[in-house]
Subunit: 238 residues, 2 copies
């Protein structure tokens, strides 16, 4: 009998926004696995820390941050080999995932490598999108409104193709994730579309470093864990 | 000192997909509030049931299901009056919300009525979108892919305006929620757009009645708690 691979969503950062199921699986795990970025500490492990039992085996995948995808994929290859060895020995492996495993999560790279050979269970988590809306006090969508979620690098790519009023997709609520170095370009696009007054900037929602402010007052540089919410509909309110 | 209004997300249905924070707040609540639909039982209360303590006061808002919005809004008016009385007496009120409170959630109607006068905290929950992706084994989005979430009634409305190839928004991943009586029209639109082979139908994800199947095999009638996922990107996989 092989072990089961669990992809466990940990939520946006506040350890209390983890699900009961995630806490149970982490607390019972003999083997956990998680990525670190370029030798740094693991945000995912820090969220889960209070539930990890002493003596657990930890498979750490150090993911290089390069524009070329090959080095990161090679790191997932290595991680998958180590996870395979545990699963083949009949041990379950709990992969720690920030937010939700299948929503812009790196778990899918392990899933792609292992799902054909082992039982896999994905435990969904609270997405940072919902957490940002909660801390901003901004209902995201009501009734039949359309929500579009766009990573900032895609928005920046479109900006270089066309004019700023056409790059934002038609929708009632627009969520721009993964701002990082693209914040300035994204802000210009939002200004160009006449939406700056509706744009809220949120950084590291649900963590001690959380910031919420109008986009017009946001700093020049944003971390990766930041987001802009634009809710156009007046509909949510009554 | 007035009490605090909590809008607490309960996740998609499996009580174990509730957050630790939601479980703590419900377990400590002396007053809870929740909607029921047209005299039926409350799905939200059933998710939370294992954490509700004996002797809690329950504010039940019976929401009529009518096309006209006024009767439902009158029911939220009544609920808000009852909640106000508790908050004014210094009691916290925990509002039970299926999924996430600010993502197509009825909590926003109470929020609109009460937020100016009382402290409010929104506790985000696992959305059914993430739960459906998890049970379907289908990563929703990777890297810089664009995700659009559209309620089925809006899709049906567009169908009556224009031709089926134009009603689906351009995106890498399309999520169609709240299928209900619109399933047939939605399926026709997806067939018209040549996307039927990529469309997965999911009903009541994470509950004992969960169903997952290709949209091409889905039943003619869908419940409100059902969804279609269309992931076009090949990108997630490697």
């Amino acid at each position: 009998m092989t072990g089961t691979l669990y992809g466990v969503g940990l939520g946006p950062g506040d350890p209390e926004l983890m699900t009961l199921k995630a806490a149970r699986l982490i607390g019972g795990a003999k083997v956990i696995a998680y990525p670190t970025l370029a030798g740094g500490s693991s945000f995912a492990r820090s969220i889960a820390a209070g539930h990890i039992v002493p003596g657990v085996r930890e498979i750490v995948m150090d993911i290089p941050m390069t524009v070329d995808r090959a080095p990161a994929q090679a790191a997932y290859d290595l991680g998958a080999v180590a996870i395979r060895a545990e699963l083949d020995a009949g041990h379950d492996v709990v992969v720690l995932c920030e937010g939700d495993p299948f929503f812009y999560g790196s778990f899918m790279y392990l899933y792609a490598r292992l799902r054909a050979d082992y039982p896999v269970e994905v435990v969904p988590g609270v997405s940072s999108v919902m957490s940002c809306a909660a801390v901003a006090g901004l209902p995201l969508a009501a009734r039949n409104e359309v929500v579009t979620i766009m990573p900032a690098p895609e928005l920046a790519r479109r900006l270089s193709d066309t004019n700023p009023t056409q790059i934002l997709p038609p929708c009632d609520t627009l969520v721009v994730m993964k701002l990082g170095r693209h914040l300035k370009a994204v802000r210009a696009a939002i200004e160009g579309a006449g939406l700056i007054d509706k744009a809220i900037y949120i950084e590291r929602a649900s963590t001690p470093d959380e910031c919420v402010m109008p986009l017009s007052q946001a700093p020049e540089k944003a971390p990766y864990f930041s987001m802009i919410l634009i809710v156009k509909g007046a509909d949510p309110w009554l």
